[in-house]
């Protein structure tokens, strides 16, 4: 047999297990450039069908397979096994309730996303054609719109672990900024009103874990800073 990869995977079924445990697996190196998701799929399809995790696109687009890989949050589908120290420790995203194995309850995360009203809001009459943007205005959205809401950043943020019921967290604040910098959106004032809060926004202490965790290489810290600067400009 060829080269084997060793993994130790978090297992927990709240309905049966008193407490979580780590289970060890060995998976053959299936192909060059093999990703962690390939290894998890191999376990599920060939070794143990009860292993539960979310995945869909398999190429870093849908954001469903965020997990904690050797202590760092990331997407299994775009994380090559080659660079990982073995045994590869695979755990669910931290700070969220485990539904089963690697599947966490993301309701609160998406609830917070809803709180920032993530859609275009306008008060001027709808133009006959589309609302136009100059190339420069469009460029403002770069680094803001690419977020796939995988939750890797938010669940790596200590401030969110401690005050997550109120602190919106890096992913949602990045999205809040995405609508603030959109030249077509006309609800800036209302949006800033909704963000100006010691817990919702100012809980961010610039620890920068979020930036390290983001698999899309976005910078939520900078977005949070930009919101703070907008509030400062509005007050000064």
């Amino acid at each position: 047999m060829g080269e084997m990869i060793r993994l130790t995977v978090f297992r927990y079924d709240p309905e049966r297990d008193a407490k979580p445990s780590m289970q060890t697996f060995e998976v053959p190196l299936l192909k060059p450039g093999m990703k962690l998701l390939d290894a998890l799929n191999h376990i599920k399809w060939e070794l143990d069908g009860t292993l539960t995790f979310r995945r869909s696109c398999g190429e870093g687009v849908c954001g469903s397979d965020g997990m904690n890989i050797n202590g760092v949050n990331g997407l299994a589908c775009i994380t090559p096994v080659a660079g990982l120290k073995q045994p590869i420790h695979v755990r669910p995203l931290p700070g969220m309730r485990v539904i089963r194995d690697l599947v966490v309850d993301m309701d609160h995360f998406f609830d917070q996303y809803r709180q920032i009203e993530p859609w275009l809001q306008t008060s001027t009459p709808t133009p006959e054609h589309e609302r136009l943007q100059t190339p420069e205005e469009r460029a403002e959205l770069d680094g803001q719109y690419e977020c796939i809401l995988c939750g890797c950043c938010t669940t790596s943020c200590p401030s969110w672990w401690w005050n997550g019921e109120r602190f919106l967290g890096p992913a949602v604040l990045l999205q809040a900024n995405r609508w603030l910098v959109d030249s077509r959106d006309e609800a800036t004032g209302k949006r800033l009103d909704q963000l100006e809060d010691a817990f919702r926004l100012y809980r961010c202490h610039q620890i920068m874990n979020c930036m390290d965790a983001c698999p899309k290489e976005l910078n939520p810290t900078a977005a949070i800073d930009s919101i703070k600067r907008k509030i400062l400009a509005r007050k000064s």
């Binding site: 609160h108 609830d111 005050n163 109120r166 100006e196 010691a198 919702r200 007050k235």
Partner: protein, 120 residues
């Protein structure tokens, strides 16, 4: 995690953030001065009377006042954030922050009284 009903924004937090940064700038500018003074005394460049004269000067009193105010504001804001992060129980949190406010402003008033009573 408990899913809480959206309570909206409290429209607070900006002031804390602003004062923490403003006091940090004042501290960065003024905090080296007392150290310069200490070095000057220990190196024998300034004697005891010279030191008292320096501290007595209205400008030094003013800078001294600014320094103490900035120090207290900065420490209070920092400790408040720590309480908000680590003390989950609202009752304890409010009590602790209130107690801090009383103790620190008491200390500030005492110090300011010293600055302005000298030689007066």
């Amino acid at each position: 995690m408990k899913v809480r009903k959206d309570q909206g924004a409290a429209r607070s937090g900006f002031e804390d953030w602003y004062w923490q940064r403003l006091s940090a700038i004042v501290l960065a500018l003024l905090l080296p001065l007392p150290f310069v003074l200490i070095i000057a005394v220990y190196s024998g460049r300034v004697d005891q009377f010279g030191l008292l004269d320096l501290l007595d000067h209205p400008l030094s009193r003013l800078l001294h006042t600014l320094l103490i105010l900035a120090l207290i504001v900065h420490a209070y804001m920092g400790l408040k954030v720590i309480c908000e992060d680590y003390v989950p129980h609202i009752g304890w949190r409010v009590t602790l922050i209130g107690a801090m406010l009383v103790v620190m402003s008491g200390f500030g008033i005492w110090w300011l009284a010293m600055i302005w009573a000298w030689g007066g």
